[in-house]
């Protein structure tokens, strides 16, 4: 964080380069008493062909900006963008140092959205995430309760190592993800849209962690695997960070534009056959059904929930539009099958003993469905 000047009051002045200035009262500790303005989604009738063309152009600009700070991992970038536009949350799994935090920071800059990072530790309490009421005394000595908003009150949240927090804190976080609201002391505070959480899990250090239960995992639209970059990408990362470690992406879109894009993506037509294809994939992941394939019965312990089918179609619409298509195809659904299903499908010991990964099984499942 850059050094900031102090005001006459002794408070820190807002960051000069802060692109989003909600109110003068914003300080480094997070916004205090601030009511976010409600941004209404524009009516569909207002859209025309120009806005449809603008969608792909916006996506391209965002990607170009992200490429300045994030080398390689193009599929991760695409899927994260897809999730943001679709209105979902993403669970990232990757070893430390692959750029998860940097990605979210860059996204925040490119999308002109406030970003906050929450490092989950075992002693983190729910109120540390959502905020809490504190007693304040004004100049006249009058005592009053004041709600101090937590770091969750932002647009882009990086929930780092969410599996290190206790289940209670996880639950509080996940409830916010689902509801986009915070309720403290019987008072509900709405979160600003677009609201996006990118949670991470460290796959290496499992000691002292609280793995997310299946029901909570289902709330994430995608689970993305951030692999170790290739040598060429690594060279690119090294060369880039030799210049500066800071994110250099500039804002190309803003929150209302993201919401516009979200509404626009919803209008992408999808034929019944493709919807059925998505539904069949999810249904075939259930071994207890008679119609499921033999491999499902052999390798899968639990299948995906109906949220998976919803996620498949919603994200397929966004993906189609991102690729310049105006309809959803089977290819879109197939491409999203692994990100959508890998954290929703539980494989059994037979698959593990045969050294099959959940991605292998999902690919088999998709091939057998059509």
């Amino acid at each position: 964080m850059k050094n900031r000047k102090k005001t006459k009051n002794g408070e820190l002045a807002p960051e000069e380069e802060e692109l989003y200035t909600p109110s003068p009262e914003v300080n480094a500790d997070g916004p205090a008493e601030y009511e976010f303005p409600e941004i209404e989604a524009p009516a569909m009738s207002a859209y025309d062909t120009a806005r449809i063309d603008k969608f792909s152009a916006s996506i391209k600009r965002i990607k170009d900006e992200l490429a300045k700070d994030f080398v390689g991992q193009q599929d991760v970038v695409d899927n994260v963008l897809c999730a943001i536009i679709a209105g979902g949350n993403v669970l990232l799994e990757g070893v430390p140092g692959v750029g998860k935090t940097r990605l979210v920071r860059s996204l925040g800059k490119a999308l002109r959205l406030p970003f906050s990072r929450i490092q989950f530790t075992p002693d983190l309490m729910p109120s540390d995430v959502t905020g809490t009421n504190i007693i304040e005394q004004d100049a006249s000595g009058r005592m009053s309760m004041s709600f101090q908003r937590g770091p969750i009150f932002s647009n882009l949240i990086l929930a780092d190592e969410i599996n290190r927090a206790t289940p209670k804190t996880q639950a509080a976080m996940l409830e916010v993800m689902q509801e986009h609201k915070v309720t403290v002391a019987k008072k509900t505070y709405a979160l600003e849209e677009p609201f996006f959480v990118l949670a991470t899990e460290n796959p290496i250090e499992q000691d002292g962690t609280y793995p997310l239960p299946e029901a909570q995992m289902d709330r994430f639209m995608f689970k993305l695997l951030v692999n170790f970059p290739s040598v060429d990408d690594l060279i690119g990362i090294v060369n880039m960070t030799q210049i500066t470690m800071d994110e250099t992406a500039t804002a190309v879109v803003d929150g209302p534009t993201i919401l516009e894009m979200r509404e626009l993506a919803k209008t992408v037509p999808v034929i019944d056959a493709v919807v059925k294809f998505a539904a069949d994939i999810v249904a075939n992941s259930h071994p207890e059904l008679d119609s499921s394939p033999a491999n499902t019965k052999k390798y899968i312990k639990y299948g995906a929930s109906p949220r998976a089918a919803q996620a498949l179609i919603t994200c397929a619409k966004v993906r189609a539009l991102m690729n310049g298509h105006y309809n959803v195809s089977y290819q879109d659904v197939k491409a999203l099958a692994c990100p959508v299903l890998r954290h929703r499908v539980k494989i059994n010991y037979t698959a593990i003993s045969e050294k099959l990964t959940v991605d292998d099984i999902i690919k088999q499942l998709v091939n057998e469905t059509r």
């Binding site: 859209y47 062909t49 037509p269 105006y326």
Partner: protein
């Protein structure tokens, strides 16, 4: 959808019609070829018009079914286009949302139309074309092959095997003729049967093929049956009597052949001995039954009514059937019914006689009323006449069956079901002159062979008057044996007849019982 799409659809329609026509033609040719080839190989000739009808009909039906299956619709055309040109469901989406409104769907539709307009001319699907080509080649090949294959001469293929009468077959037929001549048949029937069998030998001598032999055999058996079996056989008459309520008489007539259960005439050295033995058994059994029948009229009450019923039943049995006057049983029944009517009328005219009817006693005697006396004598006449007639008719039936089975067995033809082998040995011997195997005690042939205490599963039934019904032959074997022993001790048999009965006992039990 736009003009390009409609053009593709029209092309698909043309292709579907063309493929359906091709399928129709191939199926028509294949059908004609298959039918023509089959009929030619079987040597059957039919009018050419039928081939045209078969081919045309099959072609039309195939064309219609193929077109029904192959006909394109918008959805199919769209799907085929997307698949063929890898359009990622663009055309299908445009088709499915063709009537939807909205910026996105309109943009999608416009994009799809642009793509359709840019699509190249459709290439021919070689995969299916190859299959059609193969089918066409097969159909044409079969048709032309059938057209050029000559008709097959069926007569030459199915040759009638040759036949030549052997000496032993002729000897066996002559042996049969001797038996018939020695039988108890009436002179007219005997001479007729013998003549038919002689004619049969002559016909076999002239027959050169198996079919001729079978034809001669069928003709002989038919002729023998027409001579021996009366036109109104006792089974037929029995059914009439049964319908008229005369159950007992009907049963006796139906089972007339089984009232004296003898399975082969060859067991007797003298066929006439069979006839006499038969008479004894028939008389004994019929007499016992007749006692019951007589008892019906012993009661003085309603005598007139019963007489009328009996007369009516007998008369109706006669009237319902078309019997010639020469039928002895019909004559008996007719006469019987007339006598009964006469007695009834007399009873009606003499009420004192009806009132004086004595107590109900089945035995006729001096204490019987005049009407009962008359009935009693009538019963006696009826008994003799029925016995004789039954015996005659049953005997003729037995002779007819014997001749038929003998000849069939001689020429290796199946014998009628339920009828025993003329040999009755059950040892599978094909030689009718071969004597039966007496040592085969385990034989389960008809007649319950074996020791008297052991039954060998005979399911044949005989009428047992003591029981009033039919029982398995094996169960009354001992009683049957006792009757024959009584006959032997009676001294009423000639030496020849004694020998015949002894032989019969030996065959049944393997020896004369010790107590004799």
């Amino acid at each position: 959808m736009n003009k390009s799409f409609e053009k593709f659809k029209r092309n698909d329609w043309i292709a579907a019609v063309g493929m359906s026509l091709a399928i129709g033609v191939f199926v028509g040719l294949f059908s004609v070829g298959a039918v023509l080839l089959t009929l030619k190989l079987c040597g059957v000739v039919i009018d050419a018009l039928y081939y045209a009808l078969i081919g045309g009909g099959m072609a039309a039906v195939s064309f219609a079914l193929a077109l029904l299956f192959l006909r394109p619709n918008g959805k199919k055309v769209a799907k085929n286009l997307d698949t063929e040109f890898a359009l990622n469901e663009k055309v299908q989406t445009a088709y499915e949302f063709s009537s939807a409104t909205g910026a996105m769907v309109e943009r999608q539709r416009a994009d799809a139309y642009d793509t359709l307009d840019a699509l190249p001319r459709r290439h021919v699907r070689t995969g299916k074309l190859f299959a059609y080509l193969c089918a066409g080649i097969v159909a044409f090949a079969l048709f032309f092959a059938a057209a050029f294959v000559p008709f097959r001469n069926v007569g030459a293929q199915t040759e009638d095997p040759p036949f030549e009468l052997t000496d032993w077959q002729a000897d066996n037929i002559r042996f049969l003729i001797e038996n018939v001549q020695k039988s108890g048949l009436a002179a007219e029937e005997k001479s007729g049967a013998v003549a038919a069998l002689n004619e049969f030998i002559e016909a076999l001598g002239e027959a050169k093929t198996e079919s001729a032999k079978l034809a001669a055999l069928d003709a002989t058996l038919e002729k023998v049956s027409s001579i021996l079996l009366p036109p109104n056989s006792y089974p037929d008459l029995a059914s009439r009597l049964q319908a008229a309520g005369q159950q007992d008489l009907a049963e006796m007539l139906t089972r007339g052949g089984e009232t004296y259960r003898v399975y082969t005439l060859l067991k007797y050295e003298d066929v006439a001995g069979f006839y006499e033995t038969k008479t004894i058994l028939v008389e004994e059994r019929l007499e016992k039954r007749w006692e019951e029948y007589r008892a019906l009229f012993a009661d003085g009450d309603d005598l007139g009514v019963r007489l009328a019923e009996a007369a009516g039943a007998a008369a109706s049995a006669v009237l319902l059937s078309e019997y010639p006057a020469s039928d002895p049983l019909c004559d008996i029944l007719n006469e019987y019914s007339l006598e009964l009517y006469k007695i009834r009328d007399e009873l009606a005219g003499t009420p004192e006689a009806a009132e004086e009817e004595p107590e109900p006693e089945p035995e006729p005697g001096p204490e019987l009323s005049p009407a009962q006396k008359e009935l009693d004598s009538l019963f006696g006449m009826m008994f003799d006449a029925l016995t004789s007639s039954l015996g005659d008719q049953s005997y003729r039936g037995a002779m007819d069956r014997h001749i038929g089975n003998y000849l069939k067995n001689l020429f290796g033809l199946p014998i009628e079901a339920g009828e025993p082998d003329p040999e009755g040995t059950g040892d599978g011997s094909d030689d009718p002159t071969k004597p039966p195997d007496d040592d085969n005690e385990d034989d389960q042939g008809s007649g319950g062979w074996g020791s008297g205490q052991t039954q060998y599963g005979s399911n044949d039934e005989v009428y047992d008057p003591a029981v009033g019904g039919y029982v398995q032959y094996g169960k009354i074997l001992d009683e049957y044996s006792a009757e024959m022993q009584k006959l032997l001790r009676s001294g009423d048999l000639t030496e020849e007849q004694r020998a015949m009965v002894q032989r019969y006992i030996e065959m049944l039990y393997g020896g004369i019982p010790a107590e004799e």
